[in-house]
Symmetry: C2
Subunit: 254 residues, 2 copies
């Protein structure tokens, strides 16, 4: 409990706001779809609609990357795909380990989203000896004892924790000690990490609770229904980010 690291001194990166970074993957996905349909250019309006954001926000976001559009025309799809990929660091290979191969870990291992876009599952790790050697999604599970060696041999800097909450912190510490500096945490617990390590968390139960809050409110307001102007934001979608560096972001479960 000693380290109550909850600060995020992490140098306010020059440039790109965190909220923008969190949306880049969204733009990239929309652009990739356009690219596959061989669409050559898009306007901020069209792309924004596809990504579910408003166009002013999108233009502002892109302006942080540079001036990649053409006035009167729009953005070159291929070019933007490349620029965003580069900005996100997806032009390189990111080996990832998944620790905790239960139902969730196994599902993650098989998830296609990993394979695409530069992420590669370098290893699956679990503490259960019965699993050791058994292939999950085509990858043999390795034992926790070898965690440090696996991390180092594969040059892994991103770790995914899908263990029970009770062991998440200690797994986290071993990952960090072995050299991991980014962690995606699916365990329902707050991880404390040293400065310089990023943690993002995905928490199903938190997401449901947030939905329940709004759901309850809707129910309560039915009576006070005032047909008046519709609620704002059409294509509104849930917030997303909030993930400063080493501390409490809060989003997505799984």
């Amino acid at each position: 409990m000693a380290t109550g690291r909850t600060h995020r001194p992490a140098t306010r990166s020059r440039g790109i706001p965190e909220a923008t970074v969190a949306r880049l993957p969204l733009y990239l996905r929309a652009l990739t779809a356009l690219s596959e349909r061989s669409v050559p250019t898009v306007s901020s309006e069209e792309l924004a609609a596809a990504a579910g954001v408003n166009s002013a926000k999108l233009r502002k976001d892109f302006s942080y990357l540079g001036s990649y559009g053409t006035r009167g025309v729009g953005y070159d799809v291929e070019y933007l795909v490349y620029q965003i990929s580069r900005e996100l660091g997806l032009t390189q290979d990111w080996p990832v380990v998944i620790v905790g191969i239960g139902n969730l870990g196994a599902a993650l291992a098989g998830y296609g989203g990993f394979a695409s876009r530069g992420f590669r599952v370098a290893a699956l790790i679990d503490a259960d000896p019965a699993l050791t050697g058994k292939p999950v999604a085509g990858i043999p599970v390795q034992h926790t004892d070898d965690l440090e060696k696996i991390i180092k041999d594969n040059g892994v800097s991103i770790g995914v924790i899908a263990t029970p909450a009770g062991v998440a912190q200690q797994v986290c510490e071993r990952l960090v000690a072995a050299g991991v500096t980014s962690i995606l945490n699916f365990a329902p617990t707050v991880l404390s990490v040293p400065d310089g390590v990023d943690v993002r968390k995905v928490d199903l139960s938190i997401e449901l609770q947030i939905l329940a809050f709004h759901e309850q409110r809707k129910a309560g307001e039915e009576t006070a229904a005032g047909d008046v102007g519709s609620v704002p934001a059409a294509t509104r979608d849930a917030s997303t980010d909030q993930g400063p560096d080493g501390d409490v972001p809060a989003v997505m479960p799984a």
Copy 2:
């Protein structure tokens, strides 16, 4: 432009800020742990540490709920657990359906986080007839054909989408048409929904990309120690950007 946006105070009713709502589940989890250890009271400092936030923020958050603390003492654990639970709507039962029982859907069905705290998996739904009737995590899978009936019979207002991206939008529309007003989306696609429906998304690949962004920057800064100056966001000129000109991608994840 064209869009006649009727500006409207989103935060109707005395609103608890969205950012605060997103943290309440975190506090609740920490408080529940304290409760189980029979700790009677906590200070904002202690609770904040357990939840991984700073104490001023926590106190401010609680102040939106009312004055539930005692100056000079702290907060009564049990009382706070109750107040937050009530605020989040967890004192009632929320039947939930999961649509798409693949690896992920099955993992979600088995996830303990559901059971606790008022959420109950009312049904599992999948389009594959081969799955129909087969129990997953003890619950028999039902066929998509019966989706509307299931929603209505169970009074479901929260739906979880764990289908492939390609069918997520249409599943979403059926859920909404049947009466669901809150959706937790695990499919990597942007859902568009009518006003009044909340969508929260959980996207593994987005999270990884955000981590990759920061990871890349860490690597890049190892050399450039002094990041002092900081370029004014505005007026940034291209001279400092890595020249994208000549270098053509070539290898790009599709």
